[in-house]
């Protein structure tokens, strides 16, 4: 795993710890101007849903998919010195074409916003739209095509960011740590050393869950006036929102229920940014104890997304009153963006041959799912990896007060997030995966040894 070690070294060199050192010259206190807005990104036509191998055309809307933004401008001596716009989107991923199209639009329509300093994060709902052509076979008629949905999104996102930016006003931030048992490690390990994503755990050769789970709930509150309810709260949880992932209706998954349960009473106007932390090996699906969980749901009269939301909202409501007394209006604010070149995982000759054999078999069967493309990626990389040995990824690091926010475009296995949090000098470190790009899973060494979907070359 030399590549991972190098990646971590690069991560360190990318400035994360350096810019987070409290006494760094760039970390002088700044006044904050904060704005927030939200918008629906729910199309009024059927769309193809992203995230599974097979094509699914939406058959209706269970609940709205949304995008929510918080714009922050740091000012010193009346001058703007830095900025960030944090955008959470109910999408499976931020595909590169969508990212670049949105940034082009922002550059054109909102030049006061540095498009490079906008952080787009996907919640990973698998019941939102496809934004990239060519991934699925989609009927020609009666469906909003990915390029159309992407164009619609670009427009909505530009409006959203403009609204948040224009509404910024002197404000403050506060932060706190809560807990919510939401994400479960989804990789089961067996006696022969193999692993399986969502593998059966009631087998006699089941030996354990591959790795860790993190039930910390990192919370960042934004305020215009600490006497009033918060303007917004960003919630960083090591779990992608994919409980209803196999459905065929538009659905924001548990983040919809979080919004619904949280935005009541005093918090009815408080916006919620859902941020997945490093969670490539996590999901809300239960790996065991399913009967007990199911029984508790019935007794509570809740669906599982509602139950997840109950836990998250319980965590927010527990922390919010505590940190309300510690709203900071003048804090260090630093936002760094870098493109980091990471060594790619090399596809071996054997792996390439196996992938080609899978493609041939699927073609022969007339398979029209995305599975062929998934294998094709491994074959293509085998051909290009000597000439293109690295992958460039966009990485952001922010310091806001004693909070660090770091981003990556992967489904990053939890252990990497734990490393960052453990080694960070910040009091709280928010790790945002699936941000500003879509680079697949980034597994651990132990996962690569165990194999299975999220830890094989086609996924990495």
């Amino acid at each position: 795993m030399r590549c991972l070690t190098r990646w971590l070294m690069l991560w360190g060199m990318a400035g994360v710890p350096a810019c987070l050192v409290p006494n760094a010259t760039l970390a002088a206190d700044t006044e904050l101007r904060i704005g927030a807005a939200t918008t629906s990104i729910t199309p009024d036509q059927p769309i193809a849903l992203d995230g599974q191998f097979h094509t699914r055309i939406s058959k209706g809307v269970d609940n709205p998919i949304t995008a929510t933004a918080v714009a922050i401008e740091a000012r010193q001596d009346g001058q703007s010195v830095d900025q960030a716009v944090l955008v959470s989107c109910d999408l499976v991923a931020i595909r590169p074409p969508l990212l670049s199209a949105t940034r082009r639009r922002l550059a054109e329509k909102l030049p006061e916003v540095d498009a490079r300093k906008v952080i787009f994060t996907a919640t990973h709902t698998h019941t939102s739209g496809v934004t990239e052509e060519g991934k699925y076979e989609i009927p020609r008629e009666g469906v909003m095509h990915p390029s159309q949905f992407a164009a619609f999104l670009v427009e909505r996102l530009e409006e959203l960011i403009g609204n948040a930016w224009r509404q910024r006003w002197p404000g403050g931030v506060s932060w706190g740590l809560g807990h919510a048992v939401v994400g479960y490690n989804r990789r089961a390990v067996y006696a022969n050393g193999s692993a399986a994503m969502y593998g059966k755990t009631d087998r006699a050769d089941f030996r354990g869950i591959e790795g860790y789970e993190d039930h910390g709930l990192e919370l960042l509150f934004f305020w215009h006036d600490a006497r009033q309810p918060p303007l917004a709260v960003a919630v960083n949880v090591a779990c992608p929102s994919q409980e209803v992932e196999s459905g065929s209706r538009i659905n924001a998954d548990f983040w919809h229920d979080v919004r619904q349960q949280f935005q009541t009473g005093d918090h009815q106007n408080t916006l919620v940014l859902g941020w997945p932390a490093a969670a490539g090996d996590q999901s809300p699906h239960r790996m065991y104890r399913k009967a007990a969980e199911e029984r508790m749901l019935k007794l509570r009269g809740l669906s599982y997304p509602q139950e997840v939301a109950r836990r998250i909202v319980g965590g927010i409501n527990d922390v919010c009153p505590l940190v309300r007394s510690d709203v900071r209006t003048a804090v260090p604010f630093v936002h760094k963006v870098e493109d980091v070149a990471l060594p790619v995982r090399k596809v071996t000759e054997r792996e390439a041959a196996a992938a080609q054999a899978e493609i041939d078999a699927l073609t022969k069967k007339g398979d029209t799912s995305r599975r062929r493309l998934w294998h094709q990626k491994a074959v293509d990389r085998y051909r290009t990896q000597d000439k293109q040995p690295t992958l460039s990824v966009e990485v952001h690091a922010l310091r806001i007060g004693n909070v660090a926010i770091v981003t990556n475009p992967f489904e990053l296995f939890l252990d990497y997030g734990v490393q960052m949090q453990a080694r960070s000098k910040a009091v709280q470190t928010f790790v945002l995966q699936l941000t500003n790009g879509s680079s697949g899973y980034l597994p651990t060494e132990r996962a690569v040894k165990g194999g299975s979907y999220s830890a094989v070359v086609a996924s990495n």
Binding site: T5, L8, G12, G176, L177, G178, H179, V181, N185, A191, T201, D202, R203, A204, F206, R207, G208, I209, G211, Y212, E213, H215, G216, E218, M287, Y288, R289, A291, A292, E293, R295, M296, L299, R300, R311, V319, L322, V323, S325, D326, D415, V418, Q419, Q421, A422, R423, V427, Q428, T444, E445, R446
Partner: protein
């Protein structure tokens, strides 16, 4: 991990015969419940256990208790099955303690089979030493000697057991699952593959936390005939070791009890159990600064904070399961002796143990930790010699498995790594499987029972804390025996769920 897999049908038949299977107790029957609490805190200075040297406590931070739950299923006047569970604010049920307690109770519980009583420790490290020779006797000073404390403990606990059994009356039960972030995996893995208990995670070589964490909390609530809460039993994968100071303390279970008593009355008996948690502890291995900051906001100690989380989950779950209180549930209790293969001491490990013992024996100025260290390494050497002669190749474990409605309860005497608990729960046919470690300790010490990945993270050397919890020094039983423990436990649960 390479134990031969027996034919499952043969295993089932043998088990049915061995367990004297009868479906008598599987019938719906009346559940009789008794509960009582004993204060097991003497008002004298106490030597505290759990560390490599003895600490003398002259103050009490929170009082130690033993909490007793007596259960009997009855068909009219006929007793169908029974159990007495005792949760003790002790570090470990040391060898011989449970056996001695059963002897102490002989003749005092008419109609009760004493083999159906078990003791379990919460693992507080601020409780008294139970073995006279655990530390150097002169270090106990003026404190109450273990040989004095144990009979006193038996008196106190014995009175509570008798009270619980004699006061049993028809009642009801409910069960539920909640979550409380209390236990954290404490084994930190580095780039060279080594692991360290409570290792530094702010290290460029840090790679991962070794294994899983389990934040489930199983709750059983027991009610009187008017459905008023009488007792509760909870288990979670977390040892009660937030504190570890020089004051007597029941650790977070004290705070749990205080909060439950405030809400539900002083008479509610609270039994705190520890599920499989050999690699868990309440202390997080990272995010400590943010954790500390939140404690400061709340004005709580970390011990109190863990108590708050557990009590809060209890409130949440007990409120929900009050909708499903049962009076006519099956109670079945099976007690088995299970032979587990021991971890075999290698020649190299024997050599290390011999060397350490010789060094300590030859020391003119002993260190405070010498007795503790000598005991552990000495036992390694003793086991090696015995194993060379063909002895000490198995560990005789007392296994209790209960069925109470849709809940299975299963014990083990180890500090059992969480992966084994996950296996048992995942393979169990019960709706909820309530595991209790550090329970029903026998004549031999049990210590930790580690996973293969933990064992692979470092061999025994002359530093006792190298890969502590996963070397032969603190493992009487290793992964091979762990797998047998899982399989035998699951098989026994399956028998209790078999339809007749």
């Amino acid at each position: 991990m390479n134990a031969k897999k027996p034919n499952s049908m043969v295993v089932t038949i043998v088990l049915l015969l061995a367990l004297g299977w009868s479906d008598r107790s599987a019938r719906t029957a009346e559940l009789w419940i008794g509960a009582a609490t004993a204060d097991i805190t003497p008002d004298r200075p106490l030597p505290l256990t759990g560390g490599s040297s003895v600490r003398i406590a002259r103050e009490v931070l929170s009082r130690l208790t033993a909490n007793v739950l007596a259960l009997e299923s009855r068909d009219g006047q006929r007793s169908l099955d029974q159990a007495i569970l005792v949760s003790c604010d002790l570090c470990v049920i040391r060898p011989g303690i449970q056996e001695g307690f059963r002897k102490h109770l002989a003749g005092r519980l008419p109609g009760f089979d004493l083999n159906k009583l078990f003791l379990a420790a919460t693992h507080t490290h601020d409780a008294p030493v139970l073995q006279q020779d655990r530390y150097d006797e002169k270090d106990y000073g003026d404190a109450m000697q273990p040989k004095e404390y144990v009979p006193w403990l038996y008196q106190r606990m014995g009175a509570a057991v008798v009270k619980a059994w004699e006061s049993r009356a028809a009642g009801a039960v409910a069960w539920g699952l909640g979550h409380a972030v209390a236990g954290h995996n404490r084994r930190v893995v580095y780039s060279d593959g080594t692991a360290k208990m409570h290792g530094n995670t702010d290290d460029p070589q840090f790679r991962q936390i070794e294994g899983y964490e389990d934040h489930a909390m199983h709750v059983l609530c027991f009610y009187d005939s008017q459905k008023r809460l009488k007792a509760t039993a909870m288990t979670l994968a977390c040892t009660a070791q937030c504190a570890s100071g020089t004051k007597v303390s029941a650790d977070f279970w004290h705070d749990v009890r205080r909060l439950i008593h405030e809400r539900h009355g002083e008479n509610v008996c609270v039994l705190g159990f520890c599920a499989a948690a050999g690699d868990q502890t309440p202390r997080p291995q990272f995010s400590r600064k943010s954790q500390q900051r939140m404690e400061d906001f709340r004005g709580l100690t970390y011990t109190q904070e863990i108590g708050r989380r557990i009590a809060s989950t209890f409130e949440d779950v007990s409120g929900v399961i009050a909708k499903d209180i049962r009076t006519d549930v099956p109670l079945m209790h099976r007690v088995r002796q299970v032979e587990l293969p021991t971890r075999i001491v290698t020649d190299d490990e024997y050599a290390v143990a011999q060397k350490v013992c010789a060094e300590i024996d030859g020391r003119t100025t002993p260190k405070k930790t010498d007795r503790w260290t000598r005991n552990l390494y000495g036992l390694v050497a003793e086991r090696y010699r015995a194993q060379q002669k063909g002895d000490w190749k198995t560990y005789d474990m007392e296994l209790h498995v209960l069925r109470l409605g849709d809940v299975a309860i299963a014990t083990n005497p180890f500090e059992l790594f969480v992966d084994y608990g996950v296996q048992i729960e995942a393979r169990s046919p019960a709706v909820q499987t309530f595991l209790i470690q550090l329970a029903a300790g026998g004549r031999q010490p049990a210590y930790y029972l580690p996973t293969p990945r933990a064992v692979a993270a470092g061999a025994l050397n002359d530093q006792p804390f190298t890969n502590y919890s996963a070397t032969v020094m603190t493992n009487i039983v290793g992964p091979k025996g762990g797998q047998v423990l899982v399989d035998r436990t699951v098989e026994t649960i399956q028998v209790l769920w078999k339809k007749h």
